[in-house]
Symmetry: C2
Subunit: 189 residues, 2 copies
DNA sequence: GCATTTGCCTAAAGCCTTTAGGCAAATGCA
DNA sequence: TGCATTTGCCTAAAGGCTTTAGGCAAATGC
């Protein structure tokens, strides 16, 4: 057999596609080898371990997501920016459920440091500049927004909102309305 | 070897303990067999599969959590109730991380139907009776609260809030203050 | 053109899941 | 109490995923 041209990069991308197709949990070095029609052991020259592969997929997804967020935020402020960033997360999760799941993989401190995690936090802070919050409330608000985005998208993806009225899309819009109202009217301690 | 007294019930409870010790992902039929000092195959008379075991642990955790919630809600209303239920989730997740992770296991529709999931939704609705919301805003608010509880607790458990000031405990309190304010002042569409 | 590097392969060990079939302890019933 | 049945745990075995070691041939570099 000739060479297929395996690469850490290609394996990571293919792993991300595989995750979207079968779920992040089901991403396996074996499945990836099958996809390239190559023996399993061959992959171990390019990724250290199954864990390493998953971490790389997570880092890729975090970067993609941060890139989309940056695009969406460009030129927007206030509620507009809030909705834009929120929709980036939700849309990404719906379009790429496996990759989105990957972003929730617990990272080692070193991996986290080299990840786009910081960019995500920074984007949320950027949104809050359109509101009138000072520290420490700004940090509390960052955490609240992160919780809502992550929580809502996770629950929606798990189907929690799909078996009752009203439509999840409608709740999403109203939840963002509510968050905007809350940020404009943040309670004093 | 004599009989150890394996039971679906005992396996489920031991599985939940194991989950809290090593993580829900690491709960394995093999590990459980080791814990009972019994051969792996023996467990298969009591649980159908590894998936079945995990589902049972998830259902157990959902029940425990609902029980705690019901206790906490008894005799409380308004912000008091909100904080009480929120703390139940957060405390449970901190005391029983493996069980908490189990509650996020995607369930089949049948399993979900027989689960305490309905009680959880009902408890959140009960809290909202202390505020002045009518449908469909009440449902939007239910989804928001669920998202915040789930999202905050997940992120906190993943360590997202542990490497920066202020303390997560403080953010939690202020986030609940903010939610209370929001519910008292829910924006019109 | 030859030496070195690189890429994928075979082999093998270890662990997890799951099914099949067996023996002995517990239980139930005369 | 004695015997039959059920029940509980065991051995055996097959199949899948992970990971390491060592080998050969294609690609690369001088």
């Amino acid at each position: 057999m000739g060479r297929v041209g395996l690469t850490t990069e290609r394996l990571t991308r293919a792993g991300a596609e595989l995750a979207d197709e079968v779920g992040f949990e089901q991403v396996t070095v074996s499945a990836l080898a099958r996809r390239f029609d190559v023996k399993v052991a061959s992959l171990y020259s390019h990724v250290k371990s199954s864990q390493d592969l998953k971490t790389r997929i997570a880092l890729l997804a975090l970067e993609e997501l941060a890139d989309r967020g940056a695009d969406a935020l460009a030129g927007r402020a206030g509620k507009d920016a809030l909705i834009a960033l929120a929709d980036v997360y939700r849309d990404y999760a719906r379009q790429h459920p496996g990759r989105y799941a990957a972003t929730k993989l617990p990272l080692t401190p070193e991996a986290a440091a080299g990840s786009a995690g910081g960019r995500h936090a920074e984007m949320t802070r950027a949104i809050l500049r359109g509101y009138d919050l000072t520290e420490p409330d700004q940090t509390h608000a960052v955490r609240l927004l992160g919780s809502v985005f992550h929580g809502y998208v996770s629950l929606e993806l798990a189907g929690s909102f799909s078996h009752s009225a009203p439509d999840s899309q409608e709740s999403w819009a109203r939840v963002l309305d509510a968050l905007d109202a809350l940020l404009r009217n943040w309670p004093a301690p």
